[in-house]
Amino acid sequence: MWDLGCIAASVLFFVVAIGYTKGCERLGTKERQA
């Protein structure tokens, strides 16, 4: 159970980090358009 939780939490963090990357990219695109 602990193992599953640890692996899921790790994957979740990196998914959030990739989403955060996309967010930073989108902010850049918006700023350039403005």
């Binding site: 640890c6 790790s10 994957v11």
Partner: protein, 591 residues
Amino acid sequence: MTANGWFQISFFFALILLCAKPLGVYMAHVFERQRAWTDSIFRPIEKLIYRLSGIDETHEMAWTEYAVVMLLFSLVTMLVTYGIERLQQLLPLNPQHLAAVAPDLALNTAASFTTNTNWQSYVPETTMSYLTQMLTLAYHNFFSAAIGIALAVALIRGISRRESKTLGNFWVDMTRASLWVLLPACFIYALLLVSQGVVQNFRPYDQAKLVQSQTVTTTGADGKTTTQTITTQSIAQGPTASQEAIKMLGTNGGGFFQANSAHPFENPTPLSNLMQMFSIFLIPAALTVTLGRMTRSPGHGWAVFAAMAALFFVGVFVAYYAEAQPNPLLHSVNQHVTASQVGGNMEGKEVRFGIANSALFATVTTDASCGAVNSAHDSFMPLGGLVPLVNIMLGEVIFGGVGAGLYGMLIFVVLAVFIAGLMVGRTPEYLGKKIESYDVKMAMLYVLIFPLSILGFSAVALMMPNLGLSALANTGPHGLSEILYAYTSATGNNGSAFAGLSANTHWYNLSLTAAMLIGRFLMIVPMLALAGNLAGKKLVPPSPGTFPVQTPLFTVLLAGVILIVGALTFFPALSLGPILEHLLMHAGKSF
């Protein structure tokens, strides 16, 4: 403080100054794919790696691709590390038959080594098998450092390229950092360490018979006391030198033994101690020269080096001064320097290294994101302990971690240029690139995530008596410093511990894991976004309003911005921790 102590500190820094340029120029050649004298050895190996792994070395990546590839690579290697730790009892090279690492500790350790932190909530010699240490931890020591160098190079390319959508290729940069820089340096360095007496073997631990047996009485959790007579001592050993080399050169810091660089098998002589400190600063210092070469502005590289050097000397002066003073609470003890005693505060320090080399090591290891220790930071005087804490809180940009120090410093350069632009009323420019709204937003995101993690986690730990406070060995301001140091070290990816905190609990293992991941990856992303945005800009010719970034004035402004941002952010917490402890110590109170 003694003249001999200052001579040793000056000699150490002179060595760094001497070696920074040749190595920096060499790295510029390697990452700009110009001819380097080692090409004939490493180029065939590099080509073979790309052929076997299907990497197209001519493929250029946009910043988003660079970031996502780096994130996915880190995730996979972190999960493999976790798996090996959990299965080490079934795997070879485990002569001590060590059991599987507990899940929360395995996660903490996997995150710790993936993020170049090397925070260790465990005793390595009784927890990790030789295979775990060599296959996963030493592996991360190489690749987390190589990733740091690759990221710094990507940011330098962002600054130096014009109207470009790409920053290079992550796989190529990482491979080149490992093959051309880290591997050959570590090979030679490990042999030098062996020459000083650092162990390198695969033997099971020796059992030495004690000359005088010891009787030890312990009290268990149930309150029962047990008396034991101990007649033998287990002498831990293993493949230490090979791990020690990359531990220092890669600013990793995770010890093969719990005592880290205070252990005679990890750091046996004053010469090995000098080599260790030198190897922590070598690559970060050389990267400033690489910055100057790759941006075609050598003066800018040296201006950044000068700002780092100035902040380093302030830190080492305060630490050495604080540790060389007599402890005011020990009224009746003669603590002055004589021919037969060093004077000052020797608690928690190795007699082999003394006060000057302990203060210097503590400053160097926390200026960089290394975290190796040759003395107990917890036993430093309050102001001596303040220095390592402040060094990490400033973002570890004083030479800093391998690569991480330089990209952290360049974020402050962008802020310094922005502030200078505001002062003269012109659009800020940095090496011909206009610094605009998005650049400053990304720089500020980088700067703000850091204190948010440190202060946020520390505050939560302090509010929870059963989870946060129960692990403390000290009360009052010293206890606050211990918790603050743990989250600062984790978020800053330093990995050194202040001690006095039993961090191998579910709460600390999991919250420190989160702090390490946030402090590494959520800060890298805005840095790469800034790099990508800078790469796409046109070059603006210099005008009378351009703030030159090669001058002593720029160096002073840069150092000032770093100190002001750090002071404004962390002074309230520091005033309740080491500063209050210092004042109370002079009022006769200790914790």
